[in-house]
Amino acid sequence: MRRNNLLKLAMGCVLAVASTFASGDASSAQPPRQVTPTGGGIAGVYGTQRADQAEFLSTSDAIKSAAVSGSPTLIWETLEHGEKIECLDCIPVVAPLLYSSNAKNREIAAWWLRRRIFGVFGTGEVYDQTVQALQTSSDPLRRSYAAYALGEFLAAPGVAACASAVVSDGDARVRAAAASALGRLNDDGGGALGQALSDSDPTVKLAALASAGRINSFSSVAALSALTNDSTPEVRRRSIEILDALNVADALAPVSAAAQNDADARVRAVACHALGTFGNPSALSILQNLSQNDPDVFVRDQATIAMRRL
């Protein structure tokens, strides 16, 4: 499935008999390797490559058969090994898997489809249809799967559609899926992820938090800090973890409060860890107290570790 598989496959027969030096061989009885490529094939252009890197291929018939089989494992194995199979008439069979109830089916279907040359990204084709599904389908589950698929397609046009869904869709499942998709797309959706942190639904907040921790640049730290007081413990915990990961030292006050006062021990533990990351000595007394007196051993562990970082 790696990106050079086309070339691996193309050269399989050549490589089967080629000598296999990974990056140049040491002195041996074998003839010297030519550093400057001179021939055809991968061996000529990039140097030799091991024959065992070639993988077996699915057939187009197998793809079509698997896609309708309902068997998740068969589907993903067949599609994974069908990466290099051109099969236009497979596309309408695979595309419905974007709306499968099985998340793995959805993922591998989107992955296979995004590797197509034709039939997916053209006007009115699968990608357009997916955007349309997110924007217009009356079925919120279908919209959420469409958002998920746009994330897996890793194509820039999906950013705007997902950003819009994050802030405007009426169904939390869709907003959460769109927030996750933005994370896959490595984009905050022009601030949509930050807005999702203020969503009324905790699943949307959690999805946005996960994406905030993964995209290349996220700056809605005020919204992150506000979540340290969220009513859902999991949201509080994850928000503090992201503040920690982003080293938002300005969040010292709310994180200190969480360390001392949160009812959930796991929140207190991650808050202690974040205080260690922030490195502000003013948190020392708080951590000292927690390291000795918190009833939870993991909170005491994290407070002790954090103190060593100050």
Binding site: R2, P37, A245, V270
Partner: protein, 804 residues
């Protein structure tokens, strides 16, 4: 809410003896394992009943999980089996965590404590914990959490000096986000350490590879061995490497070279070497398999990386008494592999005799391992029959598996004997700070020292041995930073090339004694190119190297002999490079030298070349691909030499992409060179001035239409300017001590004049190299950070990006 599929649970401790090809099994005798009181191991769940009562089997954790580190299923446990035999008593050390999953464990040197990786619930991450192996007065086992945060920390091992090594997918490090985009753009695992006492307070990240680093193991000498997925252009396999405990001095252990042929007729017997443990110094046992879909399970392989040419290194007793001091006992160039289970596939094929996983070594030298019958890959999920990993002792002599323990409802993995063992020597560390502003120092004593069995051709060289070429020709070493698509949003391929993203950090002079020395940014994956006086790479190192802040990573030469003595030449201490001081290649990310085609290369073509080489002057060739299923044929029109910015659509690696005509003209012939006539999924047919069979201008100069002898030369060869026809046509001036010395890379003749000067157009030497050296030597990339909108971090703080 999911729950475990307890209906399948059969607590199978039966000692059946079954014939399974080469593998038979028996049960441990009542006496247990000699010298071992108990075993530590992990149970992992595979079978789930979903809320709708349907059953799901999770083997591979999703198709994207080529390495098994995010495959979470609740219901796992860390266990102690005591005594270490089939009827021993099982103690669940983590019974309080009912929804946990586990990924890696190790026993402390004094056998009183274990370290393990646990994810307590679906919203948690894998973190590092320790547990005392003796219950307290309350009957509970004392557990402490050592790491936390928004990352997964797995595969922990104890290392000397009170440290724990592990791998982590931590993001937002001082070097910026790193991710392995090849498998669904997930994060790449890298090595890190903490202290047992201080946990994350002493967290240290190691230098970064572009792909995953997994499965650390402790070596006899106190260094950390590990498996590293190496992806560099066409290189794509998993090797064994080693590092000091502070992340310094990474070296190869096995897998970089094919190795010597063994009595099974094999060199390196498979693509990936995983889950390694040392049996004795520089002799290891591990798993050889495909790098994906087999969940790290495969054949047991013995890996002997000793220097067989030194009798001291072949005597195990010499390692313990200090006799090997001064001997180079690790020889990664001639590793001897022995597949201990020859009936088990070393690739991803279904196995007739099951697969092995996560072996360790018992005090008596036998191998403790997990083994499961059946095909053992993600196909198991289809049949709802997950592989049943139990714990066995493998006897290499008989090929028998001796059953120790098997719970048929779980995977029983990561079995380790709970027995005290000597703590290897502590290697003093100098990585004291996670400060990316402190450079790593890299260099060579003498770049001409090499034992590579290679020759160089092109420009001034014609089949010249690499050592001679380096000694006679290397005037500088180019230091190149690599990056993946995390630094180039929206880009999964960097152009018509298999190479990753690249930035030139600088070119350090090679002094008269062959020495060179630079200060480079720490953590980053780098590779090196010794270059000649024309700026042409003599060799392109196809392996990532990296260092940590403050590290001094100098080597003797350019891949010097692993078993020779690396000493400076007479009068070479210190080297001339040291006397001059290291050259600083530590610019901020935004200031590094990249070659985004549209911003740096195309403007030169536009100003100097495209008026003569354009759509109206070029020849064309036509590439037609026919869909083998539908029969639909698509034809692409490719210019032989159009150096304008006109968009041209081409097919490459399953995608249709549009690039400027100049880029396509230069790099598509070598692309075709790889595909021509060999593609299995649709015959490639070309008409017109199709790419020549060879890369260079072997039969004379090209015409204005970009053809020579009726075919199109390989104008650009990714990774080799020396082999690129465009470089030969443009030619390069030689420089000695910073001054043009009148020489040229290729002889200037009436047939091959300097071009475009022969047409009245003058290029500066910088322009020549921008057109004909860097795009080729770096790998033929179109994309860089500087034309994809990448926003670098400053000092590891992603909240405060620096505008590009």
């Amino acid at each position: 809410m999911k729950r475990h599929f307890q209906a399948l649970t059969v607590f199978g401790l039966a000692g059946s003896v079954a014939a399974m090809g080469a593998c038979t099994q028996s049960t441990t005798p009542q006496s247990g394992i000699s010298g071992v009181q108990s075993l530590l191991f992990i149970k992992r769940q595979t079978t789930i009943i979903n809320p709708d009562k349907s059953v799901t089997v999770d083997v591979a954790g999703g198709n994207g999980q080529v390495l098994d580190y995010q495959r979470y299923e609740p219901g796992g446990s860390l266990n102690l089996l005591s005594p270490a035999r089939a009827d021993g008593t099982l103690s669940d050390l983590t019974g309080a965590f009912t929804t946990a999953d586990f990924n890696g464990a190790d026993v402390s040197f004094d056998a009183t404590q274990a370290v393990f990786s646990m994810k307590t619930d679906p919203n948690d991450h894998y973190h590092i914990y320790t547990v005392q192996l003796a219950a307290g007065s309350d009957g509970k086992f004392e557990v402490h959490q050592k790491t936390a945060g928004d990352q997964d920390d797995i595969n922990p091992i104890y290392i000397p000096g009170g440290l724990i090594a592990f791998v982590t997918n931590e993001m937002y490090t001082a070097m910026g986000t790193r991710a392995d985009e090849y498998e669904h753009a997930r994060e790449a695992l890298q090595l890190a350490t903490i202290s047992v006492d201080g946990g994350d307070a002493d967290r240290r990240l190691f230098g970064q590879n572009l792909s995953h680093t997994v499965a650390p193991f402790l070596r006899y000498d106190g260094r950390i061995g590990f498996s590293q997925w190496e992806h560099f252009a066409s290189t794509n396999d998993v090797k064994i490497r080693a590092s000091n405990p502070d992340g310094t001095q990474q070296i190869g252990v096995a897998g970089e070279f094919d190795g010597e042929s063994n009595d099974q007729g094999q060199g390196k017997p498979g693509d990936a070497l995983f889950s390694v443990h040392e049996m004795s110094p520089n002799v290891m046992v591990g798993i050889v398999t495909a790098r994906d879909r087999t969940i790290h399970a495969g054949a047991l392989v013995k890996i002997d990386a000793r220097n067989t040419g030194d009798s001291v290194c072949m005597d195990d007793s010499q390692y313990a008494n200090g006799g090997t001091v001064g001997h180079q006992c690790l020889n990664d160039e001639n590793v001897h592999y022995t597949v201990l289970t020859p009936n088990v596939p070393t690739g991803s094929d279904p196995s007739p005799v099951g697969r092995y996983r996560e072996p360790s070594v018992l005090p008596d030298g036998r191998i403790l391992t997990s083994w499961a019958d059946g095909p053992v890959n993600d196909m198991n999920e289809q049949s709802l029959t997950p592989p049943d990993f139990g714990i066995y002792i493998f006897d290499p002599a008989s090929g028998q598996n001796q059953l120790v323990y098997n719970d048929r409802s779980t995977w029983d993995l990561n079995a380790i004997a709970v027995v005290s063992r000597p703590e290897p020597p502590v290697i003093g560390g100098n990585q004291n700070k996670q400060d990316s502003t402190i450079p790593v120092r890299i260099g060579s004593v003498n770049v001409g020292e090499t034992d590579l069995n290679e020759v160089v051709s092109g420009a001034q060289f014609d089949n010249v041995p690499i050592a001679q070429a380096l000694q006679q020709g290397a005037v500088a070493v180019r230091v190149v930073e690599g990056f993946s698509s995390e630094a180039a949003k929206g880009v999964s391929m960097f152009g018509l090339t298999m190479f990753e993203g690249a930035a030139v950090l600088g070119e350090a002079p090679v002094f008269q004694d062959g020495s060179w020395l630079v200060n480079a940014p720490p953590y980053l994956p780098l590779h090196l190119q010794p270059i000649d006086k024309y700026g042409l790479a003599i060799r392109n190192q196809q392996l990532w190297i990296q260092g940590v802040p403050g590290e001094d990573r100098r080597c003797v030469g350019c891949h010097e002999s692993r078993t020779g003595q690396g000493v400076p030449a007479f009068g070479q201490n210190p080297t001339v490079a040291e006397q001059h001081g290291a050259v600083n290649f530590t610019e901020a990310v935004a200031d590094r030298t990249e070659y985004p085609w549209d911003k740096k290369v195309q403007p030169i073509f536009d100003a100097n070349c495209s008026s003569c080489h354009n759509a109206s002057t070029t020849a064309y060739y036509y590439m037609t691909r026919t869909d083998p299923v539908t029969g639909v044929a698509t034809t692409y029109k490719i210019p032989s030499l159009d150096l304008s910015n006109t968009p041209v659509t081409v097919y490459y690696d399953r995608k249709v992409a549009t690039y400027p005509a100049s880029y396509v003209s230069i790099f598509y012939p070598s692309t075709m060179g790889m595909m021509m006539g060999n593609e299995t999924t649709g015959k490639v047919v070309t008409t017109g001035a199709a790419p020549c069979a060879q890369g260079g201008l072997t039969s004379g100069p090209a015409g204005q239409d970009g053809t020579v002898g009726g075919c199109t030369p390989w104008w650009g060869l990714p990774g080799s300017a020396r082999g690129s026809a465009l470089t030969q046509v443009i030619n390069l001036h030689g420089y000695t001590n910073g001054t043009a010395d009148g020489s040229t890379a290729w002889p200037v003749t009436a047939q091959f004049p300097m071009h475009p000067e022969d047409k009245g157009v003058t290029l500066s030497d910088d322009q020549r190299k921008t057109l004909a050296v860097y795009p080729m030597d770096l790998g033929g990339q179109y994309w860089a950070r500087q034309n994809t909108g990448f926003v670098p971090f400053t000092n590891g703080d992603p909240v405060t990006p620096v505008s590009n």
